[in-house]
Symmetry: C2
Subunit: 97 residues, 2 copies
C-alpha cells in the first residue's frame, strides 16, 4: 500500500507528472505528454507517460475517469499525507483540516 506510493514517487518523471496535475487537474494523456515535452523539455514517448500514469494510478496518487475517447487524470493527494508522518511521530503534531 504505502510501498507502492514510495515506489511511485521514486521516479523524477512521475513527480513531474504529479506537478503537472497539481497545476492543472483533469488532463488527458496527450496533454500531459505535450506539456512535459514543451515545459520541462522531456522527450518521452507517449507509452512512457502512459506507463507512468499506470504506476501512479495503482499507487492511488492519480484517479482516472473515462469520457468518450478521452481519459482524464486527476491528482489524488490522499496517500501523500500519512506517509511521512511515520517518522515524524515523536514530536510532530498533525495539521488535520
Amino acid at each position: 500500500m504505502a510501498d507502492d506510493v514510495f515506489k511511485a514517487l521514486a521516479d523524477p518523471t512521475r513527480r513531474r507528472i504529479l506537478d503537472e496535475l497539481a497545476e492543472r487537474n483533469g488532463q488527458t494523456l496527450f496533454e500531459i505528454c505535450a506539456r512535459l515535452t514543451t515545459k520541462h523539455g522531456l522527450g518521452l514517448s507517449r507509452q512512457a507517460i502512459s506507463q507512468h500514469l499506470a504506476v501512479l494510478e495503482s499507487a492511488g496518487l492519480v484517479a482516472s475517469r473515462r469520457q468518450g475517447r478521452y481519459k482524464f487524470h486527476d491528482l489524488t493527494t490522499g496517500p501523500l499525507e500519512h506517509i511521512v508522518s511515520r517518522w515524524l511521530r515523536p514530536d510532530a503534531p498533525e495539521s488535520t483540516p
Copy 2:
C-alpha cells in the same frame, strides 16, 4: 536534493532502517544489522546495510557521529517535511524559511 530523498525512501529496507532509528536513535551499524535480522527477519549482509546507510546519509535523512571505533547513526527528519507539501499546495500555504 529532494530527488535524493525520494530515491532514498524508495527502498523498503531503507525505510525499515528509518523505522529502527525512529524507535531508537543513535544505533551503530551492527546494532541496526542485528535488529533488522531478528525483528524483521531480514537476512542481509553487513555491507548491504552499510550501503543503505550511506544512501540515507547522503540524502540527509541520517546523520552519523563517529566516536572511537563506533559510528552512531541518528535520524534527521528535516528533509521529510517539505517534500510532500509540494503537491498539497492547493489549500495549504507553506512557510518556506
